[in-house]
Symmetry: C2
């Protein structure tokens, strides 16, 4: 099949690789209708994560079940499915308490930017749509494989509730989905931190009531001013850098919560500040499968349109150009069509 591969930092290719196979009776193979590039794919792209040269890349896709293993009972070839980036059996003790991203049989999509992807624990992982989504709905359904549940998880982890004042640190697709999540949860004031006009526009479309373009000390001063010196009830850290975490924690009022979903890179947690202000911290990889039914309903009912984070669609063969566009912040998020 044709697949996106990574060979070194900034060396993304589309080439012929072996088709994924059913290796376990709980596997399924999905023919990809649409995949996409994630902000977290930029970590290896920029050489900040280890790279296995020639490995396929991409963990987000939706498509049609092509084949299933002998123990898969809930899905059959022809079903249109959403593939959570992290696969789970949805029955183990961790899944049972809503920690599907720590499933005892955890798996990952590893060829989402390709023609086919293997899904482990298909029965536990996949969620079928009611028929093939039309083209208008496709981006929002694709957003359910990762960025929307991840933004949602940030808001859940931060403890966002109706009436809250919330700040979202990070204007990537996940941060924007965090704005949308906070909005659905009834936050009264949602402050998006972004200095990038197109992202500010999406943030506002998603429910941001305020935008702060400043950074660092200046941003923190603006945040405090906006909240009468009190701080926000909840902060969503959607970047993964130490600067973003610092901003999130310092913006949060005593007793408030920080939800963090940016994969930590060089983050040092200030335990003294957390203690002194009773600021809660919770986050990690999103248990996508846990949130999927609720979020799919919000998408199909037209209540939310997370697909607005896609501002570029490319044929699979132009995957490298997609990485360039996202790296240079010319695109928020790129959809790839095989």
């Amino acid at each position: 099949m044709r697949a996106t591969t990574i060979h070194a930092a900034r060396d993304i290719r589309v080439e012929e690789v072996a088709d994924p196979q059913i290796r376990k009776p709980t596997d399924a193979i999905v023919k990809v209708t649409a995949g996409c590039i994630c902000g977290s794919d930029l970590w290896p792209y920029r050489g900040e994560n280890p790279i296995k040269p020639g490995a396929t890349i991409g963990h987000e896709c939706i498509g049609v079940v092509e084949g299933v293993g002998g123990e898969v009972t809930a899905f059959r070839p022809g079903d249109f499915v959403i593939v959570p980036f992290c696969h789970c059996d949805n029955t183990c003790p961790h899944c049972a308490v809503g920690a599907q991203s720590a499933c005892q049989n955890l798996g990952m999509t590893v060829s989402g930017q390709a023609e086919y992807a293997r899904v482990t624990q298909a029965d536990g992982s996949l969620v079928a749509t009611d028929g093939v989504p039309d083209d208008a709905l496709l981006p929002s359904v694709l957003a359910l494989t990762d960025v929307m549940p991840t933004g949602w998880h940030a808001a859940v982890s931060a403890g966002v509730k109706a009436g809250d004042t919330v700040v979202v640190v990070g204007d990537g697709a996940v941060g924007l989905c965090g704005v949308l999540a906070a909005s659905v949860m009834g936050a009264e004031r949602i402050i998006a931190m972004s200095r990038h006009e197109p992202r500010q526009a999406v943030a506002r479309a998603f429910g941001a009531t305020h935008v702060i373009a400043a950074r660092g000390d200046e941003a923190r001063a603006e945040l405090l001013e906006l909240t009468d010196g009190i701080g926000v009830d909840a902060a969503l850290e959607c970047v993964g850098t130490d600067a973003a975490m610092t901003t999130a924690i310092e913006a949060t009022r005593p007793g408030g919560g920080v939800g963090f979903v940016g994969v930590p890179h060089g983050v040092k947690l200030p335990v003294g500040t957390l203690f002194a202000r009773n600021v809660g911290l919770r986050g990690g990889m999103a248990p996508v499968r846990r949130y999927l039914p609720e979020l799919l309903e919000l998408v199909t009912s037209g209540s939310i349109e997370p697909g607005l984070v896609f501002d570029s669609t490319l044929p699979l063969d132009e995957s490298p150009q997609g990485y360039e566009a996202m790296d240079e912040r010319r695109a928020i998020k790129v959809m790839l069509r095989p």
Copy 2:
């Protein structure tokens, strides 16, 4: 008045100092009926916190209102009151959301091991008992000034709920009160970590179902075995050292929570582990005033007896011996009677 003072590491004295005075119209002066020594007093005693030579020490006391400032309306001389170790106005925006330990007018008891103590923000801070508690009840009422609400706060911060499996790291008075709190909240299994027979006995009296005497890797192995390799739902970190925090975090199942109330000394938070397992972390100084009415009701109704943490009572003049006994772990907690 006679007061306990600290001059240097391991140099505790009882000497004559100036009586505390009403300095602001919101102050009250309390004649101390009983005070006590806190595990956190051992930090300066051991030279691990800065010391102001000659300063009074002690932040826990109960007693009788001796005098009030002109703006105090809820209390009058003669009232028997519980003095939260942290004072608050109980009306500011932080207090309003239950973060009384971050009150905009925060104060502290600074001469709890003495004849008199000054209470700032008396109207917001103090809680009166229904008359003078009899001697049998006195220890439990005294425990409400700090250790019981702090153990309670650890359990609240960890998110303890009915049916949970909980581990409590730390067998000081606060840890033991954490056991009691988890028990009141309906935890099904409560694992106390203690290698000290008298503390194990109190832990069991407070509801501990299991005791682990091992430490480090061996303790973690026992914890995992007790929980079928899954980990606990909630961990209460009641020490403040890096080893205790590590044990608490590593014991917690994915999606579980750590509540920490030990003042952090050299704690380095493992952000990668927290992220990888979606373990929540929340804690800090307990908002004592928030919990006081509920806890006082539990004490006066006989539902809980946190006063069992006191295994030694000394006259105020023997305060230095009390520090020695606690430092050498010959006493769990020492009550001082002026």
